[in-house]
């Protein structure tokens, strides 16, 4: 085979390697270089019950962002969750509420967001006041048994 053909094929091989690496980084691990095109909002939860970084934030079941950081708020002693919302979703009212939900019985946790009625919208750095913690199965069963006993 001609040297030139070989060189072209090897070049294509190397390009395929770079494309595969990029596809793995972006499509598979969701690594994106910059955070442009999104804004950050925060919410406090009493119990996040297994919510993790990179969990989805959804509105009516459609993803509108991801969880980027989970930490403890040292003053309030509750969990503080940082979310990045896609910048084109710029119509979430300031009184929106968030809720930690489970996908299926054993599936991963995600955040469901419901929009309120105010005209003012969430912007970079806003805090969502109305939050509902994750359903923790043990607490639920405990509460149910306690109610039964007290009857």
């Amino acid at each position: 085979m001609h040297t030139r053909t070989i060189e072209i094929l090897v070049g294509l091989f190397l390009i395929a390697g770079v494309v595969a690496a990029l596809a793995l980084a972006i499509n598979v691990s969701g690594l994106t270089g910059s955070n442009n095109g999104s804004y950050k909002v925060y919410a406090h939860f009493e119990n996040i019950g297994g919510l993790t970084k990179k969990a989805e934030v959804t509105l009516a079941g459609v993803q509108i962002g991801t969880v980027t950081q989970i930490s403890i708020d040292a003053d309030l002693l509750v969990a503080k969750v940082e979310m990045e919302i896609f910048s084109e979703v710029n119509y979430l009212s300031i009184d929106s509420s968030v809720q930690i939900l489970t996908a299926g019985l054993l599936g991963g946790k995600y955040i469901g967001l419901s929009v309120g009625a105010e005209d003012e919208v969430l912007v970079e750095g806003s805090i969502i006041e109305d939050s509902q913690s994750a359903l923790v199965l043990e607490e639920l069963i405990g509460k149910f048994l306690f109610d039964k006993v007290s009857e």
Binding site: T3, I6, E7, L9, V10, F13, L14, A16, G17, A20, A21, A23, L24, A25, N27, V28, S29, G30, L31, T52, K54, A55, E56, Q63, T66, A103, G104, L105, L106, G107, G108
Partner: protein, 266 residues
């Protein structure tokens, strides 16, 4: 011959075996050092490496793509049937991707690479030895370690991680094909659950590191077996077999060690 003599013979042969192996390891290290730590001649070295990248990398591409596709599809199918019992079929993407990038892509690629490219390298170098081409190079004043061995080593090191990444990505799309198109998993959850679970540094980079280590081991073994082969047709076929067997064993052993170091918190 009495018993104690036989025991002493046994011990002696064990000792001889160990010494032979150590000597072999020493010679293999010499080959590596001589071939790699030399000043490259920019023009010729580059074109020789390109030629070997073609032989070692491009020619292995088809088998890697086909295997990656089928393994990804099988993972999708198997994963779905297990996960659907728990109602977690949207996690199938996570399962496919993690199995591939952490484990299957580097290991299966390495095993296929040993069979496809490693055996070819050994046979080629063995044949060059048997037909006195290596001796002839030496007499012309060209060091065969630089001219023949070095480009093949580099090509092997470069090709393996590339092939492994191609295997992984083809497998992920094969899994997507089965899960989304045939089994009806929602495509958004296939990809987003996957992206939520796969970490670039912990999973993908570690997988690539595995591939680099395997590529190094296979190419080294293949080249060394070629150089050490007995220059007869029987000797070359034995060396080729040894390349595949040794490479496969080393890959699996190294995989365990690397996995323990990377994911095992040991």
């Amino acid at each position: 011959m009495n018993i104690s003599n036989k025991i002493m013979d046994g011990i002696a042969s064990m000792g001889r075996g160990l010494l032979d192996n150590l000597a072999g390891l020493g010679r293999a290290s010499m080959v590596l050092v001589h071939a790699l730590f030399v000043w490259p001649q920019p023009k010729t070295s580059f074109s020789l490496v390109v030629k070997q990248l073609y032989n070692v990398g491009v020619k292995s591409l088809l088998i890697i793509v086909v295997s990656g596709l089928f393994i990804g599809m099988v993972l999708g199918l198997q994963g779905y049937t297990i996960l659907v019992d728990f109602g977690s079929e949207q996690s199938v993407g996570q399962m496919v991707a993690l199995s591939l990038v952490r484990e299957l892509a580097p290991v299966v690629t390495a095993l296929l690479f040993a069979g496809r490219a490693g055996s070819a390298l050994t046979a080629e170098i063995g044949l060059m030895k048997a037909t006195e081409q290596l001796a002839s190079l030496e007499m012309i004043g060209v060091d065969p370690l630089r001219r023949i061995v070095a480009p093949r080593l580099w090509a092997g090191f470069i090709s393996m991680p590339i092939l492994s990444m191609i295997f992984a990505i083809v497998g992920v799309y094969g899994g997507a094909l089965v899960s989304i198109e045939w089994l009806g998993v929602f495509s958004g959850s296939y990809w987003s659950v996957m992206q939520g679970a796969v970490d670039f540094y912990d999973d993908i980079l570690n997988g690539v590191i595995k591939a680099v280590v395997f590529g190094f081991a296979i190419t080294w073994i293949a080249v060394y077996q070629g150089l050490e082969s007995v220059p007869t047709s029987e000797g070359i076929s034995q060396s080729t077999t040894r390349t595949v067997v040794y490479s496969s064993l080393i890959i699996l052993a190294l995989d365990f060690v690397l996995t323990a170091l990377m994911f095992g918190d040991v």
